[in-house]
């Protein structure tokens, strides 16, 4: 079956599923008509270097691949749609076993035309140490990113995806599988795009796998940021933390839905997820659905939390007594709020780069 036929054969997603509750499929679809697959699709322009622009080191490669990449889930409408759009646009990034890279890798995806999409298969070798920073730059009105990753035994891998789209829609679908003793930090920084729908799934398949997922979302204007994060503990002694911080200004809306599932037999799992929302204007909205499904009783802990509120008046008052203007004090508190998760994303090099990026976006909030 062709990719197009595979997509068209799938039923429309049910809004009773939390994945599609706040952003129904037709809203994120490029034409708003789910039965359509745009015929004119521009390929993404890909650049892959070290963060300072120098060439890739030995043991890291990028190549075009034939065929599609597929997540192992039922009725994956988003994934099928991106495959239908980009059946000739799949690439593979490989980090060889044992490779240690001091400087972060920078993957820039520049979209062009009205609709653009790409599939990326990431393979991180055993015992390797690396960081990957993916920048999604503006261009197309609609961009689809489908990523599939395998983090092999004992690899240490930091991954950060930054959405810097302009007035575009982004559909981001991904699935990463962590094997034995893999240590992974996955970060999402969202400050661009007018509408973002993320369906991010992480599977702790190897004993001792360790995962930290961090989100730092800066919403302003009419932005709509909807991220669904699923973490599945399938093996024993696995560890996960999810921290998702969203600040919402203007008339923006941020949505964080999560599913933390502890499979039967995943003894000694330790997991937690937190969604925090900072509401900055009277028209901003924040929605959270942090779900838990625990099928194993021998767990170290399993919990979730969510909190939503405005900038703390006492903190604001304190900063103003120290000489800050109202705007300056607010900016500082918002930066600190977003930094709480940015700080956790990868090395100091990445953090400094991201911090600069976020500070530049604060002026757009009101």
């Amino acid at each position: 079956m062709s990719s197009e036929a595979e997509y068209l054969a799938l039923p429309a997603p049910d809004r009773a599923q939390h994945l599609w509750r706040y952003t129904p499929w037709h809203r994120i679809h490029p034409t708003g008509k789910p039965e359509e697959i745009p015929s004119e699709v521009s390929p993404a322009v890909v650049s892959f270097t070290l963060l300072d622009g120098s060439e890739l080191p030995k043991g890291v490669s990028i190549s075009a691949i034939d065929g599609n990449i597929t997540r192992n889930i039922d009725s994956d409408v988003g994934g099928a749609f991106i495959r239908a759009l980009s059946s000739k646009g799949a690439i593979k990034i490989t980090i060889d076993d044992g490779v240690i890279i001091e400087q972060p890798l920078l993957l820039t995806l520049e979209s062009t035309g009205s609709v653009s999409g790409i599939q990326i298969d990431v393979s991180v070798g055993a015992n390797s140490q690396s960081e990957l920073l993916t920048l999604i730059e503006s261009g197309a009105d609609w961009f689809g990113l489908l990523r599939l990753g395998t983090i092999n035994d004992s690899a240490i891998f930091n991954d950060v995806v930054v959405n810097r789209l302009g007035a575009s829609k982004l559909l981001r679908i991904e699935e990463f599988t962590l094997l034995r003793d893999a240590q992974v930090k996955l970060g999402t920084v969202g400050s661009g795009g007018v509408q973002t729908k993320g369906d991010l799934r992480y599977i702790l398949q190897g004993r001792g796998a360790n995962l930290q997922v961090n989100g730092s979302i800066l919403s302003a204007g009419n932005q709509h940021n909807d991220h669904h994060v699923e973490i599945m503990h399938q093996e024993s002694e696995t560890f996960s933390r999810l921290k998702w911080h969203s600040s919402c200004g203007g008339k923006s809306r941020t949505i964080g839905t999560g599913m933390l599932r502890i499979a039967h037999g995943a003894k000694g799992s330790d997991s937690a997820q937190v969604f925090n929302n900072l509401l900055l204007s009277k028209d901003a909205e924040a929605d959270s659905i942090p779900e838990l499904e625990v099928l194993e009783n021998e767990v170290v802990g399993c919990g979730h939390g969510t909190a939503s509120g405005p900038v703390d008046e006492e903190q604001l008052f304190y900063l103003k007594t120290r000489g800050f203007s109202d705007t300056g004090a607010r900016g500082l508190l918002i930066t600190a709020f977003l930094n709480a998760t940015l700080n956790e994303m990868g090395s100091k090099q990445i953090h400094t780069w991201l911090d600069h990026l976020i500070s530049g976006g604060l002026s757009s909030l009101s």
Partner: protein, 468 residues
């Protein structure tokens, strides 16, 4: 109770049944004629018949929910259920007038004794209709109306018509439509302005027959500045076939009023318990749902509060116990529609012997509701490797001045805690029962003493043999 019956009932203390002595029993199955026959039998006004018929058609047209325990929901055979069964010949005002078998049942459940000692009024429902009803004279003289719902409709049609279906329309969900179509029994409680009902009033619901459907309808209106506490309990015999309990409860707290609604749900594990409960709180009023779910095969129940008036407060405190073959899908919903409203949800659940406990909740804060405060806490204990716990909370915040917090945790009973208690001389079972009672303590302290003691005993019984 015979030894065979005792074996069948097991640890469930309320699982015996009496021989059925129906004076009116409808054939199993649901049709428009059944709905009209129920209405005619009760001599209801035309508007009620009309709303029943509309609700019936809505029920038939509406699909089953696609969330929750869909497998169990889809296994309900609505054609096998009896939708109306009358035992005895009407509601009595004295226990001695109640038929002997039924009186013995309620004696064993401790209802007449409780009434004498600490209740302001009692309603006892057996199958489809109330068989006993009483209220203290001093409350009656203050204008408090406490009747079964059928009598409420007969004697105060204007009040019932004003509020019936006003909080939960029949179109709300499939089971509120079913209840509206075939409702029978339940309580009607009206508390006049400024009256404080010091002693709680109680309703007890008993299903006795096999394949029975019980569809009570309860309406409580607390006028301005009044207060009342209502307690309901329920139980059923243990059969190999399933029964259905689908109630609708509507509460209205006018400005400054306070309503506490306590439920101790202890259905046998062949009962589907699919209940819709919702309250509206006007200015500076308080609604409290205190909800224990320790029985049933499947419970789907999410007591809701609509905080409509400024300064209103809502609380839902609930516990759930899921044993073998049980799924407790319970939770709470609070909707903040007005400014300076506050709410608190505390949910505790325990899963054991393959049981599944699910918290499903929703909190919304509307755009116009300034300075609201919300606190939600869900804790779950899983006692063995066969059991399961889920948490599905939804928070929708549309106002930036709101402070909303939610936290949930799932854990097991710590070996250290068991070891410590055993070192102080307790057996393993006792230690576990103590820990479980401690886990439920924030809920139990909200109950009247008599209920708290019973609940603690019940949980201790459930915990026997849980370790080792």
């Amino acid at each position: 109770m015979s030894s065979d019956a005792r074996d069948a009932v097991g640890d469930y203390k309320a699982g015996w049944h009496d021989p059925e002595q129906a004076t009116v029993r409808f054939d199993a199955g649901l049709s428009e004629q059944v709905v009209r026959d129920i209405s005619e039998l009760k001599g209801e006004p035309e508007w009620m018949t009309d709303i029943r018929v509309k609700a019936y058609h809505h029920f038939m047209a509406r699909p089953m929910p696609t969330w929750g325990s869909t497998e169990l929901l889809n296994s309900i055979d609505f054609d096998k259920i009896c939708y109306f069964l009358r035992s005895g010949d009407g509601t009595k005002g004295e226990w001695d007038e109640v038929p002997e078998d039924i009186k013995n049942t309620f004696d064993r459940l401790g209802i007449p004794d409780a009434e004498k000692k600490w209740l302001g009024g009692v309603t006892a429902q057996y199958e489809s209709e109330t068989i006993y009803h009483s209220i203290r004279e001093d409350l009656e003289s203050q204008g408090v109306i406490f009747l079964d719902m059928d009598a409420g409709l007969r004697e105060y049609p204007e009040i019932v018509k004003k509020y019936f279906c006003s909080i939960i329309p029949y179109q709300d969900n499939k089971f509120s439509a079913l209840n509206t179509a075939v409702w029978s029994g339940g309580s009607f409680l009206y508390v006049p302005k400024g009256v404080h009902v010091e002693l709680p009033v109680q309703a007890y619901f008993r299903i006795n027959s096999e394949n029975m459907g019980q569809f009570e309808r309860t309406l409580i209106v607390a006028e301005e500045g009044s207060s009342v506490s209502y307690i309901e309990g329920c139980s059923a015999p243990t059969y190999s076939t399933d029964s259905l309990h689908s109630a609708v409860v509507e509460l209205i707290a006018m400005p400054g009023a306070s309503i506490r609604y306590t439920t101790i749900q202890n259905w046998s594990n062949n009962v589907y318990n699919l209940v819709t409960k919702r309250a509206v709180a006007h200015e500076n009023s308080t609604i409290e749902w205190v909800d224990a779910n320790v029985g049933s095969k499947l419970t789907m129940k999410y007591p809701a509060i609509i905080l409509k008036g400024e300064g209103a407060h809502g609380e839902v405190i609930s516990v759930a116990y899921s044993g073998e073959g049980m799924h407790q899908d319970a939770g709470a919903k609070v909707h903040h529609l007005a400014s300076n409203t506050t709410s608190k949800i505390l949910s505790k659940s325990i899963s054991k012997d393959g049981g599944r406990g699910s918290y499903r909740g929703m909190v919304t804060v509307s755009k116009k509701a300034d300075n609201c405060k919300v606190n939600v806490v869900c804790d779950a204990l899983i006692l063995d490797e066969k059991s399961r716990s889920d948490t599905y909370p939804t928070m929708e915040i549309k106002n930036s001045s709101c402070r909303c917090e939610h936290e949930a945790s799932v854990s097991k009973v710590s070996d250290d805690q068991i070891f410590y208690l055993m070192s102080r001389g307790h057996s393993e079972d006792e230690a576990l029962a103590l820990i479980v009672n401690g886990f439920f303590e924030p809920f139990v302290r909200e109950l009247p003493m008599e209920y708290a003691v019973e609940l603690n005993k019940l949980m201790a019984l459930e915990m026997e043999g849980s370790i080792g």
